[in-house]
């Protein structure tokens, strides 16, 4: 794996947290434009692919960031790897499918694989720095910190990180990316009923964990 530090990235990089409308409403024109870029990229047009990178860097980064527990360096590396895989596998992209679903599919599965590998490292959450430390330690008011208090934000990350990777992916795609059940099923290569079940179980687990956290306080 390519080390992020090889390209001058380091852990002091601060992600850009901004409040945006959650739903990325894609107009038919924008979707047609993306399809044409994707098809041009398939024919070897690299600038067309770079336009897609420009458009999707934020959603893909956000997905990786949430999936990987708020680790800035890992999120950057995973987002870059997602685009690299997309580029090298462009010939497998079906233009009849939404480009965003295909890209989210790559990102989700990559992060799930990464989390499964990480499971064997046995690192306790409490031993790690607080998620979004760079954002939250910034004296400037941050939109994310404004939307949720620091403690709430930390709690949300804890709850998410407590979920199995598959459940976490479904939850993030549902809440942060506002994907429909069908789209989540497509991205995670599963059925709609499995997605509904995962989301239900995820909320149940989060509620149980939240209840336990409150009891311990």
């Amino acid at each position: 794996m390519v080390n992020a530090l090889m390209f001058g990235w380091n852990i002091t990089m601060t992600p850009v947290a901004t409040e945006q409308p959650r739903a990325r409403a894609i107009t038919p024109e924008a979707q047609a434009q993306e399809q044409s870029w994707a098809m041009a990229a398939q024919r070897g047009d690299r600038p067309a692919f770079m336009r897609l990178v420009e458009v999707y860097q934020r959603p893909v980064y956000n997905l990786c960031y949430r999936m990987l527990g708020g680790d800035v360096t890992e999120a950057e590396d995973a987002a870059q790897e997602t685009f690299l895989r997309a580029y090298t596998k462009l010939d497998t992209y079906n233009p009849n499918r939404k480009f965003s679903s295909w890209l989210f599919s790559i990102a989700s599965h990559y992060c799930i694989d990464r989390l499964r590998q990480r499971r064997y490292q046995m690192v306790d959450w409490d031993d790690l720095p607080a998620p979004d430390q760079h954002v939250l330690s910034n004296p400037e008011p941050q939109p994310e910190a404004a939307a949720l208090s620091r403690e709430e934000h930390r709690t949300l990350h804890r709850l998410l990180n407590n979920l199995p990777p598959d459940y976490r992916a479904a939850t993030i795609l549902r809440y942060w990316h506002e994907l429909s059940y069908d789209e989540i099923a497509e991205a995670l290569n599963t059925t709609v009923s499995a997605v509904k079940s995962r989301l239900f179980r995820a909320k149940q687990m989060m509620a149980a964990h939240y209840g336990a956290m409150e009891t311990n306080l």
């Binding site: 090298t88 599919s105 949720l148 989060m206």
Partner: protein, 191 residues
Amino acid sequence: MNHETFTEKMVLWLDNGLNAPEITELQAHLAGCPTCQQTYQTLQRVETLLRGGSKIMVGPPPGFTARFEMRLAYHQVRNGGHLWWGFGVLLLGALFLFIIGGLAVSALVSSGAGWLDGAIFYSGLVGLIQLANTLGVWLNLVGLFVKASLLTMSYPTFWGCALAALALAWLWLRVLKYVNRPVATSVELLI
């Protein structure tokens, strides 16, 4: 109905997935069940956290596209390097084959070359074997090979071999490209 069933309904309610009669039924149950009330409050709190947190899309630090272009270039150079090494090795092999082939063809079709008739060639070979330890002999041998190769260029066989070598080179490049393709993971297998 047990608590689990009502928990499902609570999750659906929070997701706007219940109709009016179901909501009324759930509310009636909640009014008389402290356990479910507690569960509902916790689920509601989790829902609030998720909705509050999901208003924020975290983006990468500035310069993401430029960094990606660097990474892509690195990836292509790294993978392309293997191809060029393979091509170089193939080219050397092809050159060696041409020289050996040229020598063989020259020996067979030596009627037009007086200096390379069978007797001279045989005695030359014996002499080469006897003096193989000396550098001068090796240089002579190389010279002989080069001369033979140049001579061979006047025969159609040479150009046939050249075309065959080019075809093999192309085939080799295809094989190397296939071998050096990115390693398939569960991600790619599912796409």
